[in-house]
Amino acid sequence: MKLSGWIFLISSWLFIIAVMFFSYLRVLRKK
């Protein structure tokens, strides 16, 4: 796997995890 592949994989995963973390944290706070 090329470095550019790793960059796309990691940045996509981080973006999704960040949105998920942010939204669930807010949901749990507002509960």
Binding site: S4, S12, I16, M20, R26, V27
Partner: protein, 525 residues
Amino acid sequence: MTTHPHTKPREQWGTRIGLIMAMAANAVGLGNFLRFPVQCANNGGGAFMIPYFIAFVLLGIPLLWIEWGIGRFGGKYGHGTTPGMFHYLWKHPWAKYVGAIGLAVPLLLIIYYNYIVSWTLAYSVFSFTGKYSGVANYQGMADFLAAFQGKVSNAYFPTIATAFLFFVITHFCMMGILARGVSKGIELLAKIAMPLICIFGIILVVRVLFLGTPDPRLPLNNVANGFGFIWNPDFSILKQSKVWLAATGQIFFTLSVGFGAIQVYASYLKEKDDVVLSGLATASTNEFCEVILGGSIAIPVVVAFSGLAQTKAIAAGGAFDLGFFAMPMIFQKMAWGPFFGTIWFFLLFLAGLTSSVAITQPLMAFFQEEFKWTRKKTAWIVGVMTFFFSLPVIFFLKHGFLNELDFWVGTVGIVIFAIIEVVLFVWVFGSHNAWKEILSGADLKLPHFIMPIMKYVTLVYLVVLFLFWMFQDGWGVLMMKGVPKEDYPYIWFARFLLVAVGALMVFLVHIAWQKKHVIQQRVPE
């Protein structure tokens, strides 16, 4: 308000997390684990994620919020389905009939989708019992599936009886859950199924990550190259419009928009419940299952065991080739293969079953609310109706019946319906009212530029997607290009069913509103 004064209060979600799980379970389906990796691998690898995330932000999320907003708005007036919702959005005598599309589409979808879901349950059992062990090549797996589906008769399956039995079991599971209601049925299923999907998915991803190079004599066949096949970016492909449309189509399919399921789920919210943050949580959960889990299982494992050339051929063959031909072959070569095969197909079954339940709930809600039937009676009638409508799909599969329905309903119908709901909510109901409706009770402040995106960009995205699909495939499908002459009657029968179901739903909406009118005249305000 047209609700009957003596009507029982509408059902509601038990908890907010339960609602988010149910919405996420609706979105997470077979496409997350089979369609996404194939689309990604065929359309530029990592570079595919650029149009994919752009479509996610400009089409997916806005459309989700629109559907959540329409649903909660309809719920205020006691309507869980689009005939009632459109009636209040548009205030035109035709609105309720346009809303009938939101009943016809899920009915036509469920009669073939649930049959496909039943295949995953069957393959989970076959993996456990070793039914397909010894099938040595892809052609063998293709023959195995064809016999299972009743397309041919061979030593694996002399008749279609096994497939039919699994369909009946799946159908009973689905209707049993729906008969238990929103909180005790759908929500409970989602609370069990979503964690299981994630746990099974993580187990499979961990297994894939530790596969290394299964055959040391073929050092190029390894997991790293598998991830490379799906993620190495090919930027040159971004110049092709088909890649952008493939990414847009994937976002549209994966979020399960355009068939009334999100609206009916959102209608069980209270008037001041948030839709913005919950919608975002749902979308991110779906993306976790799709990109992180779905992108890390099927394609990397096939490359590790079969090599790049064969994986390319499988990916070009589509999601079904990957799921039902390639994966069972791999599980035979893998240590603990029956175990991993069982959980892989059971994961697909859970993802599919939760989506089947969501697709059928609009029909349940319609009969319960507009005809005042009890839940039990509705479950029986909807169960029998969908069962009988499924029979031609099951028995005429080899004649292209399912493919014909899938194109007109699962591709064209849902995009048309999404265009209609955006136009009605943002343009007819008005962008100011729509914005107020979405933000009511919101736990997350949205910037104002989101509304122009909904009003113009999301709509343009949908119209372009629709026109592209029609130009690319529509004419060929309409003119039955490539269809053998002996299959023509079956294709015409599928088209007749499409029109008949549409007409039936318009008729039922008409009857429901007439009944409502009579009740209103009898009951003084």
